[in-house]
């Protein structure tokens, strides 16, 4: 049996496999996409099926400014992680902070819109099918933005404390993958709710 322990093959010279964090984040994005798909399908399926008002056409206003905020935060986080990989800490922290500000602005925009819908138009999640599907789809996305902001905030705090070194570069990349995904989902939600849905 002792012969079993001697490997006969030599290790291949270059044996590199993908970073497990990136693989896992890609998997999480696939899983999340499936969840969003179901909510989007429900939204589209129930378009125009509400028995009572208000209808999307009457109450929704296209949030162009806040959409630009969120989409540009994808650019800022991309350059932030680029600067981080090159070791430029100041530029990284600045752009990272800007990303958080843009994301928070977007969330503020969603809050403002919800406030207007609830108090001016009396549309809540239980008013009609539009309310049910609208608040759950946009709310699911807003939840993902919130989670993303919390994680970005944690990195910012550690970064300000000087605890984020270059060895974390791959992790920063993984986090920015998530943020890009959240932005991409907004493109879909925006199209479905504000373009097709009206």
């Amino acid at each position: 049996m002792s012969a079993i322990t001697t490997p006969i093959a030599q290790a291949p010279g270059d044996w590199t496999l993908p970073y497990h964090g990136k693989v896992a984040m890609a998997c999480l994005i696939i899983a999340e996409s499936a969840i969003f798909t179901i909510f989007v399908v429900a939204y589209l399926f129930y378009l125009g099926k509400s028995l009572t008002g208000p209808a999307p056409r009457e109450v929704l206003q296209t949030p162009i400014f806040y959409t630009i905020c969120l989409l540009s935060s994808s650019l800022t986080i991309h350059f932030a992680s680029r600067f981080f990989a090159r070791g430029k800490r100041g530029a990284f922290l600045g752009l990272w902070f800007l990303t958080i500000v843009l994301g928070a602005l977007f969330l503020f925009g969603t809050g403002q819109e919800w406030h207007r819908l609830i108090y001016e138009h009396g549309l809540t999640i239980s008013t009609n099918l539009f309310g049910t599907t609208y608040y759950s789809l946009v709310g699911l996305h807003a939840t993902h933005v919130t989670v993303g902001l919390l994680m970005l905030g944690i990195v910012l705090l550690f970064g300000l404390a000087g605890r984020v070194g270059r060895e974390q570069s791959a992790r920063i990349e993984v986090l920015s993958m998530y943020w890009h995904f959240v932005d991409a989902v907004w493109v879909v939600v925006f199209t479905v709710v504000y373009v097709i849905g009206r």
Binding site: M1, A3, I4, T5, T6, P7, I8, A9, Q10, A11, P12, W15, L17, P18, Y19, H20, G21, V23, A24, C27, L28, I30, A31, E32, A34, I35, T37, I38, F39, A42, F45, Y46, K49, S50, L51, I125, S126, N128, L129, T132, T133, S136, L140
Partner: protein
């Protein structure tokens, strides 16, 4: 040197209080221990789900029986289905994948050990919540008990009006929570398989079990999530007054069925693909031949994964879809039969001309081959829309899917238990008890599920708590119940064998089956770190290469 280390460890474990050992198991992040926890958890729930099935069969043993009330009967079939799918089949398969995948690909642990522990405890919490409904289901309303809405919980049964109290909420949250656990484990398995393989272990050299676990995990990512989404919608309906499935407000009950079966049908493949994996590891070893058609096996599995995503509405032929949908789902359901057939032929091709060894694991594999084939044939019958219109919702359907789940999945699982038990515990399972278990279980299985087709064809609906005498269902129901008891005795023998062999079984050694994959190169049970030095592989059968340096597989690949 390794024996010294082991002796020291043994001395440490004997001298410690049991609380410390328990604590160690609770906080563990070791993939082997978590795998064992998953398997033990599933075994406990297997016994619970089995008792529920037995109670139902006692109720149906003769017409007008009043062993349980109609309300209790509804709870029993709901709990039986939910338990068996979410808290037996899923965790036991994840348990084996957890235990075996890192060992087979030459890794020391999973990619994310803490996520692994978190996922297990989420699943455990889900199982606990489901059964806590017996205590907490009444809530403040004093109505309801355990969930009684069926395992697929069709709307509007789950609406507040028809399901007061909290029983449906316990069902929803239990399934949701265990679903998050499954997604975590699936992500972990994929990351492990893609990023942790030992040097030389190319994807084309990976053991089929690792390949099939990869496909299964990918399928989990896109099939469990629609269920999670639907559960969130149901919670919105029940707690926030939403209208997703509320037909009074324009909502649709049919869309719940779609969402549920988009999960529900691929779920069958999530469960059967790991069983294909067990077959693909065990059949070659007991045929003394390498697997026949390795690349085709991988291709067929990936193909099954894709096609299984587009067959779901064959569960819904009777709700009145248009003829195009019926034709589409009939066609796709039949297409799934092609890659599955390829697999059956490949296992037969592996056995053909091999030196067959009829040990217990192989017996269960052969049982699987025959029974899974028959299950597939009744599946093709039910995939045909007009045939399904006649038999949907009858005992024929119950017989069909139990043929898949018991005759297929459970038989492959028993094979896996007998095959890997020596690796996990270091002792062989008793062969005579194993053979007795096999034959009793085969007899009980066929008594129950062959005969169950007959009342189905004669028109007996599923989920009824009793029936009128003189419809031709009496004798067959009696035989079905007798078969259930034979199966129950066989399971008790199996459990007795597990316990007996743990203490009295023959010492297994590293490699009792003379197998070819890496898990057999380490001691039984493997050390916490798995491999002292990370192995390097040059072919699909690394252990064959080491045992036969004069004629290694690597020469031919």
């Amino acid at each position: 040197m390794s024996s010294d280390a082991m002796a020291i460890r043994a001395a440490e474990t004997t001298g410690r209080p049991w609380v410390e050992t328990l604590h160690e198991w609770v906080i563990t992040v070791d993939h082997k221990r978590l795998g064992i926890l998953y398997i033990l958890f599933a075994l406990v729930f297997l016994v619970i789900g089995g008792i529920e099935a037995t109670l139902m069969r006692i109720q149906l043993i003769r017409p007008h029986n009043d062993f349980v009330s109609p309300q209790v009967f509804n709870r029993l079939f709901t709990m039986h289905g939910t338990t068996m799918i979410f808290f037996v089949a899923m965790p036991v398969l994840f348990g084996f994948a957890n235990y075996l995948v890192p060992l087979m690909i030459g890794a020391r642990d999973m990619a994310f050990p803490r996520l692994n522990a978190f996922s297990f405890w989420l699943t455990a919490l889900g199982g606990f919540l489901l059964y806590f409904s017996f205590v907490g289901g009444s809530g403040l309303y004093g109505a309801g008990n355990a969930p009684d809405v069926g395992w697929w919980a069709y709307a509007p049964l789950t609406s507040r009006a028809f399901s007061p109290g909290h029983s449906s909420d316990y069902w929803t949250i239990a399934v949701l929570v265990s679903g998050f656990g499954s997604i975590g484990t699936a992500i972990n398995l994929i990351a492990t398989i893609l990023s942790m393989r030992c040097p030389g272990m190319k994807l084309s050299r990976m053991p089929l079990l690792a390949w099939l676990s990869l496909v299964m995990s990918g399928l989990v990512l896109i099939t469990i999530t629609p269920l999670s989404a639907a559960q969130i919608m149901l919670l919105v309906d029940r707690y926030l007054g939403g209208h997703f499935f509320d037909t009074q407000a324009g909502g649709s009950a049919a869309i719940w069925m779609h969402f549920f079966w988009i999960f529900g049908h691929p779920e069958v493949y999530v469960l059967i693909i790991p069983c294909f994996a067990f077959m693909s590891e065990i059949v070659p070893v007991f045929s003394r031949k390498p697997i026949f058609g390795y690349p085709v096996m991988v291709g067929a599995t990936v193909c099954i994964g894709f096609v299984s995503m587009s067959v779901w509405a064959h569960h819904m032929f009777t709700i009145g879809m248009n003829s195009y949908s019926n034709a589409f789902f009939t066609l796709t359901s039949m297409i799934v039969g092609i890659p599955t057939g390829i697999k059956i032929f490949n296992w037969l091709g592996t056995m053909w001309g091999g030196k067959l060894i009829f040990k217990t694991p192989m017996l269960f594999c052969i049982g699987f081959l025959f029974q899974f084939l028959i299950a597939g044939l009744t599946g093709i019958m039910l995939a045909t829309a007009p045939f399904d219109w006649q038999l949907s919702g009858s005992y024929f359907v119950v017989a069909h899917f139990h043929y898949v789940i018991v005759g297929g999945i459970l038989f492959a699982l028993f094979a896996a238990f007998y095959y890997w038990y020596p690796k996990i515990t270091g002792r062989m399972m008793n062969e005579s008890l194993g053979k007795l278990h096999f034959w009793l279980f085969v007899i009980g299985f066929h008594l129950t599920f062959d005969v169950m087709h007959i009342p189905g064809i004669l028109g007996m609906p599923r989920r009824i708590y009793t029936y009128e005498p003189g419809r031709g269902w009496d004798t067959s129901n009696l035989i079905v119940t007798i078969g259930t008891f034979v199966q129950g005795i066989a399971i008790l023998i199996f459990v007795a064998n597990l316990v007996y062999s743990y203490f009295k079984g023959a010492k297994a050694g590293n490699d009792p089956w003379d197998a070819w994959t890496l898990e057999w190169s380490v001691s039984s049970p493997p050390p916490a770190y798995n491999f002292a030095t990370i192995p390097t592989v040059a072919s699909r059968r690394p252990l064959w290469d080491r045992k036969h340096p004069e004629d290694p597989d690597s020469r031919y690949e």
